[in-house]
Amino acid sequence: MQTEMSKQSGQSFYGMAAIGGLISLLGVAGAFYMEHHGHQVSGMNNQTFWGLPHVFAIFLIVAASGVLNVASIGTVFGKKVYKPRGPLSGLLAITFLAAGLFVIMLDLGRADRLIIAMTHVNWTSVFGWNMVLYPVFFGLVGLYVWLLMERRMYAYAKTAGVAAFIWRLVMTTGTGSIFGFVVARQAYNSAVIAPMFIIMSFAWGLAAFLIFQRLMFGCNNTELHPQVRERLNNLLGTFIAAVFYFVVVYHLTNIYFAKQTGFEQFILLNGGIFPKLFWGGYLVLGTIIPMLLLYLPSFQRIQGAGIIASVLTIIGGLCFLYVFIIGGQAYPLDMFPGMELKSTFFDGHIDNYVPSTPEILLSIGGFGVAFTLTLIVTRVLPFVPQDDVAKLQASGALHD
């Protein structure tokens, strides 16, 4: 089995690269259009000022941290089945973070001021911390991947792996804290958000990993060994269940706080698109169906059940973030509890945000960037996981 994307599948590589490149370019075009005309061409406004690009960017940034989990389980926790997957896991961590930053940076009101963002840092800001968290993540994971792939340096891979593992936890704590520290809004201001984001990163990252792994195996006309697949699917199911637990705790906490029951009613019952996306998108599509596909024998027999579950997990994650980010802004600020508000600035009104075409292009463009970067690197370097199942079985490592 080849360790790069199959050279025989040259046509499919160029086809996929062209599609990925086109999606990325459309993303750049959408961003350029918004930059030129201002955010008036977006669906965002002064109530819902973080829109679809933020949903996609935060998904990619959270998944970037989580996708590294596969490498960590191999290197840090010594599980041999995961070790061959380390380099691909690290690569995806880098490309996903790059793609997430691509989206969020190009959505800035002043995207041309990237240098200012890097040179003027306010250390009380969680966004400010990101100026350290992200570059160090790139550096650490890059080093880690190199140590994994350069056999002469492999002895140091565990040290780098532990450092990257700790750093990714810190980074996702930071991403969760972007919302967790916001005291002004009913949707946020909760200590449970940071750990919830960490466990979400596990599920979304693993789902993304399984999809890319399947793609690479498919290009090489090979299949993942059923026992390895079962193990990875089991882990995905565990993560999906853990996410569900945190989502329940997050909502129960809000419901328990008397001040926030109005917001919870809005998000879960009568808020139009938001309850639909929560119950239909996150819970049914993104949680229940994947669990059935992964654990119920009659569903497990469906061709590509694990991959369908992975795709649905990602769709469920995007639905959750849409409800969390956009719903959290659409619900009006409760400045005067118990009073009805009316103003020219739509105080007291539920905002009806509808993303515009440039926003949609930029958002999807993030996925295009992650896909294209990963595709190109895996074409030229040996990232395809190679399983020596017989050896794993002989040493009993297949099930440890």
Partner: protein, 251 residues
């Protein structure tokens, strides 16, 4: 070892530089025009003493005097600060100050009040700003440095008062004293350009009912400090303990 000629050259060079410096200083004091000298031109660009931390600018709004249909303060703010752009979607327009009508559905009691940046002592927008563009002056006025705002809108998420707006479109015909910019976040500045000249904010000056009082909360002799000390006032979202510069009466 240096040649004698080099020493002579160095000496003459020093002499020349010294003479030129004296001549330059003399020229600097020469009048360019009656009453205008080079030195003064240079001083015109030096920063002033700056805001004083001894002062805490604040505003007291008496909602019992504020009429529901009146938006004189909003219009005065727009004129003073050059907020004159037309927007297709009113949700995308900048509103530094707005009128809110409140109604208690249980009692039917109604209030009308202007809502603006509350100029918090502990402003969440300043805490969360990644570049430090959101800042608080020593005298308590919360501002946005338009030169380093990257338009991330995190401050808008953090503000409990919906007091900040992103400029969604290109701007023209701006007030030179109040620079604004597409893609940057902005909010009420307490008309800092007027306050620094000893004037009142435009909204306060325009209020036909005298419902808005501006002054130094730190000065025990000021009217605002005395009224805040004696009369019952409210801080909006007082539960957040942000110690607001804007206080309301009658709600």
């Amino acid at each position: 070892m240096k040649e004698p000629q080099d020493l002579i050259d160095n000496k003459s060079r020093r002499n020349f530089v010294g003479t030129a410096a004296i001549a330059g200083a003399g020229l600097g004091t020469l009048a360019l025009a009656p009453g205008l000298q080079l030195i003064q031109v240079s001083e015109a660009n030096t920063p002033s003493a700056g805001a004083s931390s001894k002062v805490r600018w604040g505003m007291l709004i008496d909602t019992t005097k504020c009429a529901s249909g009146c938006d004189a303060c909003v219009k005065a703010c727009a004129t003073e600060n050059g907020i004159n752009e037309t927007v297709k979607d009113p949700r995308q327009g900048s509103q530094w100050i707005r009128k809110i009508d409140l109604k208690n559905p249980k009692t039917g009691q109604e209030h009308s009040l202007p809502m603006l940046c509350q100029h918090c002592e502990h402003p969440p927008c300043v805490d969360v700003c990644p570049t430090g563009a959101s800042m608080k002056r020593a005298d308590g006025i919360v501002l946005v440095d338009r030169h380093i705002c990257i338009g991330c809108r995190y401050c808008m998420l953090a503000c409990p008062y919906k007091a900040r707006s992103l400029v969604h479109q290109p701007l023209t015909a701006q007030n030179p004293e109040v620079p604004r910019g597409q893609g940057c976040v902005e909010a009420c500045t307490f008309c800092v350009q007027r306050v620094d000249k000893g004037m009142l904010p435009a909204c306060v000056e325009s209020c036909p009912e005298g419902a808005m009082l501006f002054g130094d909360l730190n000065d025990p002799n000021s009217e605002i400090a005395q009224r805040v000390a004696k009369e019952k006032t409210t801080q909006v979202r007082g539960d957040l303990n942000l110690n607001l510069g804007v206080r309301y009466q009658g709600i």
